[in-house]
Assembly symmetry: C2
DNA sequence: TACTACATGTAATGAGTTACATGATTAG
DNA sequence: CTAATCATGTAACTCATTACATGTAGTA
């Protein structure tokens, strides 16, 4: 029951349509949660029925009409209540780690391929997040922005996303190097 | 459909009961996947029906009897097939990040409390993982173990878990420091 | 002309969580 | 005597993913 809170948090600083939300929750920018469009449309409908968000129709002639959503008082109250609860630990669930766990019984070349694929993906995200951070803090430096800027929430979560992807990239390279090294030194299997 | 592969990977290096598996997949040691006991018992039953794992009854008189599982040839083949598929990107889903995303609209003290709780949890895991790594590599140093040891798969995934928790801890402290700093310098909200 | 972006959903299936159930042994 | 550990599940429910569905406008 936390997708609802993720949606509320995402709508706090900007009014968004379901479509825009979906993009924010997609692969690219999901620094704090991930969800598919279908889930988001469904969740928005539910949140609106419960009065936690309010939607307003925006008529467009060149594009299909859309509905923009904002968080209501009740929605903010719900988020506040949520913030006071202890959060359940978050878990890793990653195909790639499963494969590396089985490394001793699998083809190293195959694994190295996967690891480099993932490292490339991480690099792309690192660049993306770097750009987002720069845009958010404008011409200030980070220290100054975090002390005196507003909307630091998204900035802070993006910092976590950045560090996470850097961790991914480093680990992928290190692991690939280890597997390649063993391949050439002819280790018994 | 990846829990099955996680179970197979976990059973590769040691014969385990459902109960032992459940402990490995629990909060403490889940460096590459997480699942609850119920899921694991169900998955083991399914894997056995499909011939991917084989269970053998172990009679105990002081404890309830248990069934120990090993991966079959077919199971290893299934893992190999899995390793060749491209893996879907893994996503973050974390209550705490949702709360920080909404930081600009929530009570900073509350958030700092959550962040320090999480940092403490991360510290505990860091110690735990550190110990596991030491046990796995024995008296060798890491470089040597990774070059010539066997069962490096679990070691490598544990390294990722360790780095992840260190990232968590650092980010929690940094974020808490930022929020405390702003509280004292009286930023407009 | 084909593809991508905009914009919003429904339906079916699969995966994960919560609650419940049982029963013995050992450590505090 | 109470709690934790060992050991294994079932049932109900919620959440997430996959597949499908529709239609317009701008870009290559």
């Amino acid at each position: 029951m936390a997708l609802r809170h993720a949606v509320l948090a995402a709508l706090l600083n900007e009014e968004l349509s379901g479509y825009q939300l979906a993009k924010a929750f997609d692969v690219g920018v999901a620094n704090f949660w991930h969800a598919l469009p279908q889930q988001l449309y469904a969740e928005l409908a539910k949140l609106e029925r419960e009065g936690l968000v309010a939607g307003r129709e925006v008529v467009q002639d060149t594009r299909p009409n859309k509905r923009l959503f904002t968080v209501t008082e009740a929605g903010l109250a719900e988020l506040t209540r949520f913030a006071a609860t202890a959060d359940k630990p978050s878990f890793i669930r990653d195909d790639l780690l499963v494969k590396v766990q089985a490394a001793d019984h699998l083809d190293p070349d195959e694994l190295v391929t996967r690891l480099l694929e993932r490292a490339a993906l991480a690099d792309a995200k690192i660049e993306l997040f770097g750009g987002l951070l720069r845009r958010m803090r404008g011409d200030r430096d980070e220290e100054d922005f975090l002390r005196h800027g507003d909307h630091i929430g998204p900035y802070l979560t993006c910092l976590r996303g950045l560090a996470f992807e850097q961790g991914n990239r480093d680990w992928c390279h290190r692991t690939a190097a280890v597997l390649r090294e063993r391949r050439t030194t002819d280790v018994p299997r």
